[in-house]
Subunit: 341 residues, 2 copies
DNA sequence: TTGTACGCGTTATCAA
DNA sequence: TTGATAACGCGTACAA
């Protein structure tokens, strides 16, 4: 084999004096080629080091058997579990997966959509970035009759589009209720960007729980940020100006964890002075002391479900596909940070 | 725009009565098209919702501007930082990145290589799986004159191939030496699969440090495993049969962390009874109590460097590219788990 | 500056 | 069961 000289079906065709169309059929295991020639061709193919050119094949068939995935950040535990679910289902069904991170940037998200579209992926799974408030890029992709399924962050802009999400309202409600039942009266909330529906919903669940238990909702006890590590510390600092506060319900673990670390460094007793509940069941939540009460999202299952729906939509592209959305119920994991000692 | 009917350069060509070759040139910003027609074409393109078909373009040009990345697992902190470095450099240089996880499985690694090759990525960055002891898949890819750069786990099978790694020997030596200097005499080592060079090297660094300080190397103090969470617990259990042991140097953080958790649950005082040092600077290592002394690998820089080398090899494909390998120096991060109180 | 003509590697269609 | 031919969408050498 000559270096860098890619072998094509035509090379096999010449070598065997068999037409390239037959070679193509043989390499695709078509039953329309006699077993004998099929084997002869396949043997020659390995002998020559033939490697199919998917570009050409995909161009011709107008399918790539590839699913594009756009998520904010692969290193976040929740998204890592989602990806595991996506890959498992996709590979079972014979699809490849291309994973792209928006890094919470709309600009990157747009560029990625564009790239995936021009590479003709068969469909896209997306969890939009924190910055995403315009949806033209998604709309124009869908307008071309390309299937899209939203994960975790369904968009109000596409009420009819399939999505897999969790019941953020119930999860928040339950978490806040737990704190109330433990006797906490002044519960702060670390909230995320309000253009992301799920953070709005989490706040609403928190508010609802307070109201139902006749606890006043105090606006300055609600700290809005991007919920980064730094944000968690900043919120914790502000929070110390309100000595009344005896609990925190944070809309993610990252901020909850850095807040705990900071508060401990300031001599605050967690959970006796301030109880804390997070969201996401990040691996660190189990290790930190006190261990963090949090909410586990079924990421793996979300990945599997969303991929199943997407693949179904890809396969039924011509027909009228009815959109399918599912809302899963997350689980409250009670650890030490919410328990009175 | 009609749903699902993809616009091609020919549609633009017809709409404007300009030949498709000129359209092609215009859309590629070729200076060989007058500014006027170029603008006219580009305007029409957006108007019709044209989206380049990269499959066709890549087939024609025999380049994809895409780098394939094969790593064991994206969720591991070290690899997440490597990926960040890869993406940053790649995007700066106008390359896309396709990330694939082998999940430490040789079978998956081979399938991924095959898929990337048939999709004609311009080059591959790889950190081989724990199972990888055959290298035919990599060899045959390289034999076709495709550039490959090894990350973190250079292969003995390709001594002349470019690689970016760290000085595992020195890091291990330094870590073990630190424990010795703190007065530890019976230091256990949690080691990984010995077919992975880096684990062998880490063991050698550990042994060398002992020898240089006239401490006998005791074979049954060396625990070999896959260094998973469960392995860490299992090793810790076995270790309790040797009451002499007063320190652990673990070849990764995962095992070190689960061991600490288990030992604490058994009433062992860390670090006073047993000091612990890990490897990788996993985010958890900072949060666990006591915080874990560990070794930080410059993942981001490794990603950047390997990508730079790969891109250079892609661009100089025709010329005699000399292989370039770099060994970076990792940093010992001293925290509480190694300090006597 | 623009147009003509062809080929990248594969597969679908039709005919033999 | 196999072969001939065209086409997928794009880029480029060459001609005008």
């Amino acid at each position: 084999m000559i270096k860098g000289n890619k072998i094509t079906i035509h090379d096999i065709s010449k070598a065997l004096n068999i037409d390239s169309s037959t070679v193509s059929r043989a390499l695709n295991n078509s039953p329309r080629v006699s077993l004998k020639t099929r084997e002869k061709i396949q043997k020659k193919a390995t002998e020559l080091g033939y490697q199919r050119n998917s570009l050409a094949s995909n161009l011709r068939t107008n399918r790539t058997n590839t699913i594009g995935v756009i998520i904010p950040r692969i290193s976040r535990h929740f998204f890592a579990t989602v990806i595991a679910g996506i890959e498992e289902t996709a590979y079972e069904e014979g699809y490849n997966v291309v994973i792209c991170q928006s890094l919470e940037s709309l600009d990157r998200e747009e560029k990625i959509m564009n790239s995936l579209a021009s590479n003709r992926v068969d469909g896209i799974l997306i969890s939009t970035s924190m910055e995403t408030s315009k949806f033209e890029h998604i709309k124009s992709y869908m307008d071309n009759n390309n299937p899209v399924v939203f994960i975790d962050r369904p968009s109000d802009a596409f009420p009819n589009c399939s999505s897999i999400s969790i019941d953020n309202f119930k999860a928040s409600y339950d978490a806040t209720k737990l704190l109330i039942e433990k006797g906490r009266k002044n519960i702060a909330h670390f909230s995320g960007p309000q253009n992301i529906g799920l953070y709005k919903t989490r706040k609403e669940g928190y508010i609802k729980a307070l109201q139902e238990h006749n606890i006043p909702v105090i606006e300055r006890y609600i700290f809005e940020s991007n919920l980064s590590e730094e944000d968690g510390i900043a919120c914790a600092k502000k929070l110390l100006n309100h000595p009344d506060i005896d609990a925190i319900y944070s809309a993610n673990d990252t901020a909850a964890i850095s807040a705990i670390q900071y508060l401990k460094s300031q001599g605050v007793d967690i959970p006796n002075n301030i109880a804390v509940i997070g969201f996401n069941n990040d691996p660190i939540s189990e290790v930190i002391e006190p261990s963090l009460t949090t909410i586990n999202q079924p990421g793996f299952e979300m990945g599997k479900l969303s991929t199943e729906i997407l693949i179904q939509q890809i396969r039924n592209k011509s027909e009228n596909t009815k959109n399918e959305s599912k809302v899963l119920v997350p689980e409250l994991i009670i650890r030490k940070s919410s328990e009175n000692s």
